[in-house]
Amino acid sequence: MRLAAELAVREINAAGGVRGRPLALVLLDDSASTQRAIQVARQFYDMPDVYAVVGHLTSGTTIAAAPVYNGGATPLLEISPSASSPTATHGAPYTFRVCPTDLLHGARLAAWARRQLAAERAAVLYLNDEYGRGVRQVFTSSFTSLGGRVITDDPYLPDLPSFQPYLERLQRAGGAQVVMVAGTRAGAEAIMPAMRAAGVTAQVMGGDGLTGLEIDGTLISSAYLPDRPGERNAAFVAAYRRAYDSRLPDHRGAGAYDIIHLLARGLDAVGPHRDHLRDWVAGVGTETPAFEGVTGTIAFDENGDVPNKDVVVGVVRGGQLVTATP
């Protein structure tokens, strides 16, 4: 995300900046901690030259920071590239996002499991945070409503000593065809060896939190995949690879890249002013034309969401996430 954002800023400043002034990026690390996110938000809020925040990365930090950005006399625009929790933008007029919600991720994965894999039994392991609980809840209800059964449904945190008891209990209960990991890449990387040890041979799938996982065959839903068709995306991927040692951007980077370009256009249109910039962004897709980015078309609804954006299911092949084919 940082790399893609810096790439976008370089591009804009190389083209003359905004209104003849170079765009500057202020970087602060919230360490994905909600407590730290509140403090970071306060720091950004108190900088008068900061007109918008690209972030935060996770749903939990975005939700925790939102009251800071939306309160006070000079509220600050906050656009997250990847906060997918359903309610992350609700009741916060200065909080936006450019990614679909977990509702879409959970629902797409549940449908894939039921329709493409014909799975009837599923086990859910979820990271016990805002994001994990959101994905888990949508997946469980979608899978159940499509006629499947959720056999086990267990929470975890990074300091959990072992997944063994959960998987052993699953096995005793008769096993499952899919294991849904509603968490992060680190969780999946711990779970998959434990599955092998417990003799669980189910298909592993997860939301965009698993992005970066290099274990082949894993199904991962994402709002953006680098192999997404389109000239703009091709140019972005090529530039990213050139700049960063042939690495591929993920959905968070692509979202941040789109947000930077969107903000540059807004600042050019209304000038450096927090409220004017927020109002301009809120009108994208209604008062002004929708923004065509590398992640697709960005048009905000009244919540600051992008309801017309879809989620695709990808599969890890050769260490890279590519669009999965049924």
Binding site: Q35, I38, P67, N128, D129, L157, P165
Partner: protein, 568 residues
């Protein structure tokens, strides 16, 4: 009347006062209402916030307790119901925690505390779930160890929840303090607003009362002065309201007309008194002249009688002369002397009569002038009648105006009470004016009656004076006759005296002449008596005229006394 003065009326003054009150009160009322409504809104918002915070805080406390209880219970009694209770309670902890997060009233420290609460909850939930999985697998020892690990975040979670609840209770106290402060501030505002409104109402009331009371008091003072007979022009301070200005103008015009009339009456009564005094003097002169005439006539009458008896004696003597002719010359001489005496007397009387005739002409002039002045006075009293009618009409209009004012004052309610009293005063004044006008009318009627009597007397006096003229001329003519007759007697006597001796035969003729003379003398005597009677009659008329002149003088005095106290 200029455009501005048209609006300078009592009605407009009262209306302006009312408007000023309303204009002052409306913003005050608005401020008061807005202060009250602000405090109401503040209280409602604060209480609503407090209620929501309390509900969420209570909810999270209950949910955490339920979760820990169910989690511990599942370790000893593994039933699906208890497991379900654990999961439901855990889920509701997140719901409450999110609700707490979205409350606007939290400080950033409190937000961080709530986030920490979420982390503790997640840890406790995961460790209990892990312990439950171990318990399900029958690994009791491991499950027990995991539960012990779970209890640490669980206890911290409970402590955190309790501290959040305490924080909320402190916040409730702070809210109460804020409300009390706000109420105190608003109360001061409302008190200030009330005090301001009282001051404004008092100022407007006083200004209104002054603007109405002062001109009315001035007018009442001027009216009292009029009532006391001081008709000098009114001097009023400042600008009057329209209604009172009209009243002032009307009273001023009444005063001006009264002043003119009083001056006229004073002058006329003075003139009348002078005339009466002239008349009186002339009457006295006339009376004196009449007395002289009477005396003279009595003399004439006596002389004539003497002449008659002398002539009789002469005739006897002449008859005796016929026989005693010698004595004729002596007798004749005496007759001549007597005739000269008579002619002298007659001449004297004729001169006196000429003087009396001139006096009578003077009297007639004076009487005629008096008659003209009396007629002039009658015309003046007619003017007074017109004027009294005017006063009556004005007082009637004033009465109506006062009634209208009383009605307006009643409409004005309490604020009109003072004006109602004034209106009543004005109405009394109008009544007094009407009464005074009636009294003046009575006086004028009395004067006119007396003047009419004077006029009648003057007319009769003028008739009598007119009759005196021809009478005096008759006397003069008779005296002339006497003189010529005496001259004839003298001539004849002279002839007799000259020719007596020679013409004795003429004695018979002389006797005839003497007879004629005797008849003429008799006729003279009766003429003289007639003149005396006329002179006496004239004396009586003169007395009557003097009496009338006296009455006129008294009437003039009364008139003068009537206007004497009036100041013009």
């Amino acid at each position: 009347m200029t455009g501005l003065e048209r609006f300078n009326t009592l009605r407009v003054r009262i209306a302006l006062g009312g408007l000023a009150l309303v204009a002052g009160m409306v913003p005050i009322a608005f401020i008061g209402i807005s202060a009250l409504s602000t405090i109401g809104t503040t209280v409602a918002a604060e209480l609503d916030q407090l209620q929501r915070v309390t509900a969420v805080s209570n909810g999270v406390t209950v949910a955490v307790s339920d979760e820990i209880r169910a989690a511990e219970q599942y370790l000893s009694a593994r039933t699906p119901e208890v497991q379900q209770q654990f999961r439901t309670a855990a889920a509701s902890v997140y719901t409450f925690q999110q609700a707490l997060q979205s409350l606007g009233a939290l400080t950033e420290e409190e937000r961080i505390a709530v986030t920490r609460l979420e982390n503790l909850q997640a840890q406790a939930e995961v460790w209990y779930a892990y312990a439950h999985a171990l318990a399900d697998l029958g690994r009791r020892e491991d499950a027990h160890a995991a539960a012990i690990t779970a209890r640490e975040p669980a206890e911290q979670l409970l402590a955190s929840v309790l501290s959040v609840a305490e924080g909320q209770s402190r916040q409730a106290e702070a809210t109460t303090d804020r409300l009390v402060d706000a109420a105190r501030t608003r109360r001061s505002v409302v008190l200030l607003v009330l005090a301001t409104s009282v001051v404004i109402a008092t100022l407007v009331g006083v200004a209104l009362f002054r603007s109405v009371d002062r001109p009315v008091q001035d007018l009442v003072g001027a009216a009292r002065r009029f009532g006391a007979g001081d008709f000098r022009p009114m001097t009023l301070r400042g600008t009057m309201p329209g209604e009172l200005r009209e009243l002032t103008d009307a009273m001023d015009s009444v005063g001006a007309r009264l002043r003119t009339i009083i001056v006229a009456v004073t002058n006329e009564s003075q003139q009348m008194a002078d005339t009466a005094s002239d008349l009186s003097a002339v009457s006295e002169e006339l009376a004196a002249t009449s007395g002289e005439i009477t005396t003279a006539m009595v003399d004439i009458s006596n002389s004539a009688e003497k002449q008659v008896s002398g002539l009789e004696h002469s005739r006897q003597r002449m008859e005796h002369l016929a026989t005693l002719a010698r004595k004729n010359a002596d007798v004749t001489q005496r007759v001549v002397t007597l005739g000269q005496q008579i002619r002298r007397l007659a001449d004297d009387r004729r001169r006196e009569m000429a003087t009396a005739g001139a006096s009578i002409a003077d009297v007639r002039t004076v009487v005629e002038r008096s008659a003209r002045q009396v007629e002039e006075l009658e015309r003046l009293t007619a003017a007074i009648d017109d004027f009294i009618d005017l006063i009556k009409r004005i007082s009637s209009q004033t009465n109506l105006l006062a009634l209208n004012a009383a009605i307006e004052a009643a409409r004005a309610g309490e604020r009109g009470l003072g004006f109602a009293v004034v209106a009543e005063e004005v109405r009394h004044l109008a009544d007094s004016s009407a009464k005074a006008a009636e009294e003046v009318a009575d006086t004028v009627r009395t004067i006119r009656h007396q003047m009419s009597e004077v006029a009648q007397t003057m007319a009769s006096g003028r008739g009598k004076v007119a009759a005196l003229g021809p009478m005096a001329e008759g006397v003069q003519r008779a005296l002339g006759d006497i003189a010529s007759a005496v001259a004839e007697v003298e001539q004849t006597t002279a002839n007799v005296s000259r020719e007596a001796r020679a013409h004795l035969e003429a004695t018979d003729e002389i006797g005839a002449v003497l007879r004629t003379v005797s008849e003429a003398a008799s006729s003279h005597a009766s003429s003289a008596e007639q003149v005396t009677a006329a002179a006496e009659e004239q004396g009586a008329s003169t007395e009557e005229m003097a009496a009338q002149a006296n009455a006129l003088t008294q009437a003039a005095e009364r008139l003068r006394a009537l206007v004497k106290d009036l100041r013009v």
